[in-house]
């Protein structure tokens, strides 16, 4: 569903990762690990097509990916239902009830998002992925501000998605209890400072 070959990426013009290759099939989950600043967010944004790779290729079909970044994309003045309904329509769908149920938002549907707690807002942001109908989910630190029960909700939602033929890529530090997930440690792909970095673009060598 998603494959990456010999990918190199940069953040703010500085190469961070290089030589990265992996493939993701239906029903699989991939957990990205690595210390802060190694480029997990940058990698996810590159996969989502928000920024171009320095080198290498990302093979992914049209309308396959759904991306959830650090921010939830939740509008504070709209209610939970309105927020979800909006994103469902943007992706050409209308069914939001399963997402509300999966993330235990039933009691909050008519509440404005600005009156939700941080964890509730996060759950709303994650529920958004369910209404997109896209097969590959990508999460950037999905469990921030979630309590243990909510993390379990999230893990079971992902598991259901995988069982239904979906796939997921996530950058996270905590153990979700997703035993079937593959772990990809990004440490070995760290771009070497100085050498190699200069070659990717003759202009960047400067002088």
């Amino acid at each position: 569903m998603l494959s990456v070959s010999n990918l190199a990426i940069a953040r703010g013009g500085v190469p961070v990762l290089e030589g990265l290759s992996f493939a993701l099939n239906a029903g699989e989950a991939l957990v990205l690990r690595g210390p802060n600043g190694i480029g997990k967010t940058t990698l996810l944004r590159t996969l989502a097509g928000l920024q171009p790779p320095l080198a290498g290729e990302v093979h992914v079909g049209e309308d396959v990916l759904a991306y959830a970044g650090h921010a939830d994309g939740v509008k504070p003045t709209l209610s939970v239902t309105e927020n979800l309904d909006f994103w469902a329509r943007i992706f050409g769908r209308s069914e939001i009830a399963p997402a509300i149920a999966a993330f235990d938002l039933e009691g909050l549907t008519s509440r404005a998002a600005q009156n939700l707690s941080a964890g509730q807002k996060r759950r709303l942001g994650l529920a958004r992925m369910m209404v997109t109908g896209r097969p590959v989910w990508m999460f950037d630190e999905p469990t921030v501000s979630l309590d243990a029960a909510s993390v379990a909700l999230f893990a079971s939602a992902v598991r259901t998605h995988l069982a239904g033929g979906g796939a997921a890529v996530m950058a996270t530090h905590i153990d979700l209890g997703l035993t079937e997930a593959r772990v990809l440690d990004l440490g070995p792909y760290r771009a070497a400072a100085g050498v190699g970095a200069a070659e990717f673009d003759s202009d960047e060598a400067f002088l």
Binding site: G13, G194, F206
Partner: protein, 255 residues
Amino acid sequence: MQDDPAALKYSRMKSLWEYANPKKFMQVSGAMLPWAAGLSALCLVVGLIWGFFFTPDDYRQGSTVKIIYLHVPAALMAINAWLMMLVTSLIWLVRRHHVSALAARAAAPVGLVMTVIALVTGAIWGQPMWGTWWAWDPRLTSFLILALFYLGYMALWEAVENADTAADLTSVLCLVGSVFALLSRYAVLFWNQGLHQGASLSLDKEENVADVFYHPLLVSIAGFVLLFFALVLLRTRTEIRKRRLQALMNRERMG
């Protein structure tokens, strides 16, 4: 392979684009800079001294006609600097040569100064001729708008932190700005027919400016063109060094 015309053409094209390589550019510009600077100084000194000391007064405009040796070349360069920025911005957007984007950045302040010189000398000239420092004449107004475009362009370069992002955004602004600058030019003409005399320079120069004034004017224009060229070379070299410095410091932080 060498006989294949397409390959030959390609190798020629490649050799042209080689100057867009920063290393190559630094070598060539370093060699050219002293000549450009020297020639421009020579032309400016000759043109301006000739114009200031050895031209007669105009029978209508008196000695104010001597301002032409500053006003016309500056105005010419104000527009051509923007055109050059437009071309280099396009090259950056299409071929992603960093030197091109940096040259556009380097040219903007020079263009702004030229615009301001054209405006100030125009105002000083207009005072005795039209009886007012500032008239909302179409040409003056167009130059005022052009100055605003330069300011906005430079401010955008300064405001964006990532250099490549800044290059992309300013290039798009330059393209859109060019269209709107042209639109404004016609809008302003429509809005006020103006006091300004027709363009001083055109192919049928006999009609506009007599030879006594024309020859030193040509020298002075050559001086301004060379000055612009030399300044852009110098400032582009500075910009390239700044980028190099930035890259080195980034790498330092990484490693």
